[in-house]
Amino acid sequence: MNAALEFADFLQSVPAFAEFTPAELAVLDRAMAVDHYPDDHQFISEETRGTAIFLIVEGKVIATHRRAKLRGVDVIEYLGPGDLFGLVALIDHRREWATYRAMGPVVAASLPYNVFDLLFTANAPIAYHFQGLIAAQLVHDLRACTQTLAKAFAQRIPD
């Protein structure tokens, strides 16, 4: 992918961005930096406070959480094109919630936390639209956790 040329087209193709106006998409196109990342690249570590959220353009990212004593690292979910991550720390300004790592080569766009906060504080409509995306992704994460938990528990119940 020619990242600089095609990111705007990608944004227009993602259903989650459907409510953004062309002008707002143009702002995002300028505000977000598109980069290529190698296999196994660690975007975010749960041990630290990150600095940006990421939007996957191409490739696959695995979200994991370290279980301190019992089984090492646990897979929370797999993310693909159009998915956002790094949102929990953006919202609550604490350390990252999970660790995100590339599964194969990945193209992703990043938006620094401080840029998002600036947009929100400035009462910019684009920030409110983006807030809708963030909320939807957090719901996706929450449902993934609930379903995983329910499935793990159901497997322990004899029929």
């Binding site: 959480h65 279980r67 301190a68 004593k69 019992l70 089984r71 646990d74 949102l87 929990v88 919202i91 609550d92 604490r94 919630w97 999970a98 929100f120 009462n123 409509p125 920030a127 409110y128 807030q131 809708g132 963030i134 909320a135 939807a136 957090l138 719901v139 996706h140 994460d141 929450l142 449902r143 956790c145 609930t146 938990l149 329910a150 793990a152 528990f153 159901a154 497997q155 322990r156 119940i157 029929d159």
Partner: protein, 184 residues
Amino acid sequence: MQHRTDREVPTANLTADGLQRRFAVLLERFTRRELQILLDALERSDADPGQELHRGGDPIDTLYLIWEGRLALAMPVGNEIIALGTLGPGEFIGTAAVIDPGPAMVTLTVIEPSILLRLDRAGLQALRKAQPRVGGQLLRALSLDLAERLRLYEEGMAERTQPADVGEFIRLCRPLLGIKDISP
């Protein structure tokens, strides 16, 4: 799903200030004017004990703020129905549903006479269109709540492989559903 709604009932207690006092954490960043706009967007719904607001698996799209009363949550898991706990005044449920409508994870039953303030998906979208700042503030507040739930869940899971029994499942599930009390 039946709702006994009555927009004409005097709302002497349903003021902007009252709303912020009742839902202090959720609405702490709202100005008085924003609270009034939000209050106008909410629909009052009075519900009686025994009334099911929805069953697990039903398509849902509504956020409920509990002004008065109490609701019970139960989740169908495998062949069992697991009672997860209750929610009362100042608590809310349906965050995921109003943001991204889908099948309900739990059955929601009224167990005390309740006054609920409802906001469905269409109402949220209308609010976001007419009052982008208030809609954005609400989404931000709900996102903060979702983030807190994810953190509480991960903290609960930190030392576990999977829920060992019903009690542990309930303890792990409660934060995901917004039940603040995670004690046994």
